[in-house]
Structures are given as C-alpha cells and as structure tokens.
Subunit: 449 residues, 2 copies
C-alpha cells in the first residue's frame, strides 16, 4: 500500500535529475508507476525540453489519458510533437466522453482514423456529446450510466450486476428509467446492499433525486454539487430522456477552472501554462500591458491639464500618486468581493442594490478615516494647511467613487455579456486614477493657487 | 422529481419578497423545503436583518446543519442571536466530525451541555478529531467508516450490510482492517455487488489504495483527490491504525477555500462575508489601506527627492505614473502566476530557478517592446528626444525588476513562513513604484537637465 502521492515538488526534482543524468531506463520505469494525472501535472510543471522528453518516455497506454489531463496549451504542444500513428494508438482506447473533450485539438487525419475504427454505438455516443457546447452538462457528461427498470426486485438487480461483472468508476447510483428511457429516479448502491432483497426497485428507489438538463451551465452544476454534496447526478434532455451523468471529478475540475479564471483574469492572464514558450507568454501579456498603457495615458493626460499648477507647487506631484493608489486599493477590494460573489452565485440583481449601499458606507467611513490621516500627514510634511485639506477631500471623494465603481462595474460588465473578472480591474483602475488625479489637482488649481 | 436547485438569485429575491410582505407562514414552509446548504447560502447572501429573520424561521432540525455550512463570521453572528437552549437543541444531533468543526464557536455552556449528554463512544470520537489541527486530515475526517475483516466471504459482507440497514453518506469503499484496526486495504461497493459471492474479501479487496496520514495538510489532500479522482480515502495514525476517512465533499470545500484565499488575499481581504457589518468591514479593510499608504508614502518620498528636477521639467510629473503602473501590472502578472503555481503544487524549489529565467525573458521582451512604444510617445508628445530615451530606459529597467520581484517575492515569503498571496501584492507594488520613480526621475536628474 502506497502513502498519498509523492510530493509534487519531489517528483519534479526527481524527473529533472533523471533527465540530466540521462538515466532513461529508470525514468521510463518510474513513469510507468505514476498515474496519468501525475504525469500530466509533472509535464505542466516542467520547462519545454523536459516536457517533450517526459512525453516521449510516457508509456503509450497512459498517453491518451495524459492528453486529457494537461491544459489546452500543453496539449496542443504535445500533439504537435507526436506522429499521427502514435496519436491514433494513444487515443483509440479513450471513452467517448473523454475523447470528445480533446477531439477538436487532434489533427484531421487522426480524427478520421478514429471515427473509421469506431463501432456505431460509440460513434452515436460521441455525437450525442459533441452536440452540446463544451461547458454545459451535455458537453461534460459521461455516458456510462447503468440503468434499471422500476418493476424488478433488488435480487434481480443484484444478479444483473454480478452478470455485468463491473461498474463504471464513481458509480454511486443506478438510474431508474421507463421503457422510453425517461428518468424516473435513482437507486443507490448503498440501498441495494442494505435493503431486503425481496423488495422491488419501486419500493426503494429515490424519485426525488436532483437531475440536470443537458444545457445547464457548468457553474450552475458546480453550485448544485457543492450545496448538495453529490457524487453523481443524471443528465436529461428536453423530453426527460436520460442522456448520461455528471460525476464529482468533473465538478472538481469545473470549480478549479472557475477559481483559476477569476484569479488569473484579474491580472489579465488567460493562460495557466507556467512554462509557456517565452514568445507566446510575451505576446499574450503584452496585450494587457497595452490596454493598461491606454489607462495610464488617460491619467497622464489629466495630469498634463494641470501642468501649470504642478509647476507652481511641486508638492502636488509628490502627493498625487497617494490619491490614485488609495482609490485603486479600496476599489479593488470591493471589486474582488463582488466578482467572487457573482462567480459563486451570491451576488446578483436580488441584492446588488443593498450591497452597493453597504460598500458605499464602508467607502465613506474609510474615506473619512484616511482623508484625516493623509490630510494631517500632508499638512505637517509641507507645512501647508490648505494642501492638507485638499488632499483629504480628494481622498474622501476618490474612496467613495472607488466603492461605487467596484460594486457596479462587474455587474454592468456581466449584464453586457463581458467577463467581469477580466475587464473589471482595468476599468476600475482607469476610474480611480482619473478621478483621483482630477479631484486632487482640480481642487488644488481652484483653491490653492 | 425536482430539477437542479432553484437559481440562487431567484431564491434570494423570493425570500426578500416574502419578508417584505411579512408572509411568514409561506416563508416557513418554503424554508422547510430547502436543503440546509441552500438556506446557509441564502443567509450568506442576505443583508443583516434578513439574515436573522431567515434564521428564526429555519426549521429547528435544519439549524445545526445550517451552522456548519455558513462561513465563520456569519456563524458567530447567528450563534450570538440564538438562545442557549435553542443552540443545544440545534447541535445535539450533529455527527461528531461536523460538531468538531463548529465546537470552538459555541458558548461554553452549550459545549458543557452537549458533552454531558453525549455517550462515551461519541465523546471519544470527538476527542480523536479535536486532537488534530483543523486543516489536517485528522481534523477534517469523518469517523463513520465501515470496516470489515479480510477473511470473510462477500456473502458474509452482504449479510452484514443488510443487517446494518444503511451506510454513511458518500461511502464507496469499506475498509479492510486486521484485529488491531490497522488498515490493510479497501473493498469497493461496486466489487461487492459485481464479484462472485463465494469469494473472500482477501481475493477481491484492493491492498494498494491511497491512504492519508492524520497530519497531512489540507492542500495536499486536495491535490491527491484531484489527481486520482477519488471519492473517499482512509485516514490512518502513525501506527497505521484506521482513524476515519476524508470524503470528496470535504475536498470540494478545501479547494473552494484555497481558491477564495488566493483571490481575496491579493486584494487584502480576509473575510468572505459580503454582508459583514459596515464597521467590521471598514476596520478590516482599513488595515490594508494603511499598509498601502506606507507603500505610497515611500513612493512619494522618492518623488520628493527629485522635486527640483520636476520643477524644471513638469513633463516628468505627467509621465511618471506610466512607469510605475506598467511595472506594477507586469509584476502582478508574474506574481499571480507564481502564487497560483505554489498553491497547486506546480511551483517550488525544483523549478523556481527556471521559472525565474523564463519570466525574466518575458520581462525583457515586453520591456523592449513597451520601452520603444512609450519612448516614442513621450518623444512626440513633448517633442523631447532625451525624455523619450530616458522614459524608455526606465520602463525597460522597471519591467525587468518587476519580473524578478514577481517571481521571487512569493517564494521568499513562503520560505519565511508568510502567506505569499496576502503579503505578495503589497511588497511587489512597493518595489515597482519605488524602482519606477527612482529610475525615471533619477535618470532625468542625471542626464536631462
């Protein structure tokens, strides 16, 4: 028996060592002992050349699964590096639902070959999944559910299962369907094992189980599983016909992806591939830097409007970054809270207005507090009472605007169909920079000189 | 049969409507139909007064579970609003492992009463959990696993299960133990149902299942479950004695918490309670604003060093925020990537150096690109070639420093035992602001005037 998996960092260090020592036979043996998900995770954590070497020494029977576990960028790199014949060999054993996920990334020739060798049953399965968008229940589901009729006894069910000889992974329920394959409910393995054998399925099964429509969005599926502690749930079409099931391991992936998305988007990152080629990373990130430059230029333009004022009182140039930065920080706190709230379904139409009031109240209180502190600091530093009052007013104003902007921007973006996490932070910084500089320098121009 | 849960936002709007209409009998009936997790999620999404009303109309049999589902802040608010007797009634039916999670939040008197009424078996269970820190396998585990001996037949196991009459939620494996309760392996429900009944457990069970030591850290547990698509795993002590099990619903919570933590910490937020009282929110967030102010003051001090230079050329004041802001954005991209990499175990000693090289290369390429763009912009805007060259050099320098800082700060913080996500962003901004202003104004002072 093996203790929980070798520490990820130790594994990467070990692989690195073996490759450097060119000890390829030990390397191959070690890879053969790993789970495909562990190989995938290691490949993602390695720099480019070692990725390819690791892929080359991955046992061919694990390669198909490794492809399904790595992220999109790494997958297309690995596919590029592999002969067509090897790709066919690696993928032909994959289950239809897993294959559906990676099919669009495979070369045309491999797809043709796979479809050619597939039996009609599997082809139909594959089509039924490809019909639905990738991040809906229909696109995510497995099609390996075990179904039974309501009018048999548990004893018959048990004999049927022994005849089958095995059950798909992560099976906790058999689905009860009628003659037209419409879902009636579910029978847990636990009930089959613990209830008297002479009872009928109809006496024991749960007719109230949660089911999912094929076009349900991934995020909603994750919320359901999280709230109900589910392990699997059936997926049905518009006629209530059973199509397949979603299992908890899919949901864990959804949750991880969604969380990654919020985190990375706030920094303008879309790739989670830490060892992406330098040129690819540079190109992707430079887009975000370019958008940010437009924001910064807008702020510079505001400052330029007040050049004459700054020339007369250079203390303004010294203090102005404080106004913009305090607004940016306060706004990003509200923004992050609202973006997370939207992602987990806690913030929306129903409570947006009250959340806005609460954030405004926090903005006003913190505004008063920090306006006082910074006002006093400026007064003592430059021995200029008016400067202190003006920076205080600018801080207060900018913190209130920051709360307003932080709470409303993500909701407006969401309504407009844009991604709140990706566009939110850049729009917010624009607002807090421009308002901050304008308020501070404008007040100074009006009242100070 | 009910379709996947009522949309969260619709539920909140409906509750809001019922409370406003003072239709408490419909409200009570509706709450009785909800899952405790749904009530908990709704309570978290409601403003303070409505939280209390919802709690008051929550059926008493659901209250204990609701307490376990809400976040820490909300839980202590609810506990504060509830009579001791009602608290005892709500919590006395909870399983020991669930109770262990909320026990520290309960008033002394409630704890005494609960312990007094508990049988010795349950008291021992509770103690065995409380012995381990909250975010280790020992603190997270359930103690409801079903154990069997290796030398019985599947037929005997089946009869034993029918005699038990039910199995704990999320049971996919029975654990095989010897006389001293040491873990030998596990037998899946699926195998019990599909393998010939006359076989012995010893012929069928899996001796290679993954097990978890009681002191394993939550994050490591989540990585194991994610990589291996597990539904449950046994927890053992240092003598390999079976203590309990971790189930996938605990792991989903770990993943959600960890992701929330990275996201919220980067904005200096520690509370995930969107409707926390205004004063509490203000206090918590003001700490972060205060720390940020110190950073901003440091930047201002650098600017103040060059007051004379700015007085002579006010264009410097106009352009200087661009240098700091481009550095901050580029640095936060690297920082976010590394923080996420550390959290999921992809970044560490084994590959830190190579990641640093890659990020440096990206920083240099983007530095050259944006130095050129911004240099040209500054040249045309102010018709000053030297100003263009100087801002270009400052941008290039700051983007390289940003890559260095973004890649190393989280690793240094982690080594020092600090939280990379919380402290990382403030340290990074300090570096990119100070370096940006210093490089730009310093070069200008030396070469421009």
């Amino acid at each position: 028996m093996e203790q929980h998996s070798q520490n990820q960092q130790e594994l990467i260090a070990y692989i690195d060592e073996l490759i450097k020592a060119e000890d390829y036979s030990t390397f191959q043996d070690h890879l053969a002992k790993l789970h495909p998900a562990e190989i995938a995770h290691a490949i993602e954590s390695l720099p480019k050349e070692e990725r390819i070497t690791t892929w080359e020494y991955t046992p061919s029977e694990a390669r198909g699964d490794v492809l399904t576990y790595v992220n999109d960028d790494v997958r297309s790199d690995l596919i590029d590096k592999t002969d067509l014949d090897e790709l066919i060999e690696a993928t032909e054993g994959l289950a239809a639902d897993v294959l559906a996920d990676i099919l669009p990334d495979l070369p045309e020739k491999v797809i043709t070959a796979l479809l050619h060798d597939m039996d009609i049953q599997d082809k139909l399965r594959l089509e039924s999944i490809l019909k639905y968008p990738e991040n809906t229940a229909g696109g995510l589901m497995s099609i390996d559910s075990v179904t039974i009729r309501p009018d048999v006894t548990l004893d018959v069910v048990t004999r049927y299962l022994r005849f089958r000889g095995e059950l798909p992974d992560t099976t906790d329920y058999l689905f009860v369907v009628n003659r037209e394959d419409r879902l009636l409910g579910a029978l847990s393995l636990s009930d089959i094992l613990t209830k008297p054998e002479n009872l009928s399925v109809i006496d024991v099964y749960d007719p109230d189980i949660k089911y999912i429509s094929a076009n349900t969005d991934a995020q909603e599926i994750a919320n359901l599983f999280e709230k109900r502690d589910l392990v699997s749930a059936p997926v049905v079409d518009e006629n209530h016909k059973l199509l397949g099931r979603i299992t908890i391991d899919d949901v864990v992936d959804i949750i991880r992806d969604e969380a990654d998305h919020s985190l990375l988007s706030l920094a303008g990152l879309e790739d989670e591939d830490i060892f992406a080629p330098v040129v690819r990373s540079t190109r992707r990130r430079s887009l975000w830097l370019g958008i940010n430059l437009l924001t910064a230029l807008l702020a510079s333009w505001v400052i330029a409007l007040f050049s004459a004022t700054i020339e007369q009182l250079v203390a303004l140039a010294v203090l102005m970054p404080i106004v913009a930065s305090m607004g940016g920080i306060a706004g990003s706190q509200t923004l992050t809270l609202v973006i997370r709230g939207i992602a987990v379904g806690q913030v929306g139409k129903a409570n947006a207005k009250r959340l806005l009031y609460k954030e405004l109240a926090v903005g006003i209180l913190n505004g008063v507090l920090w306006a006082t502190v910074i006002g006093l600091l400026a007064y003592f530093w430059f021995n200029n009472l008016h400067l202190g009052i003006i920076i205080g007013l600018a801080i207060l104003f900018n913190l209130i605007v920051a709360a307003l902007a932080g709470a409303t921007i993500p909701l407006i973006l969401q309504k407009a169909g844009a991604d709140p996490a990706l566009a939110g932070s850049v729009v917010l910084t624009t607002v807090t920079d421009v308002v901050g500089f304008f308020a501070f320098l404008g007040l100074a121009a009006m009242f100070l000189l």
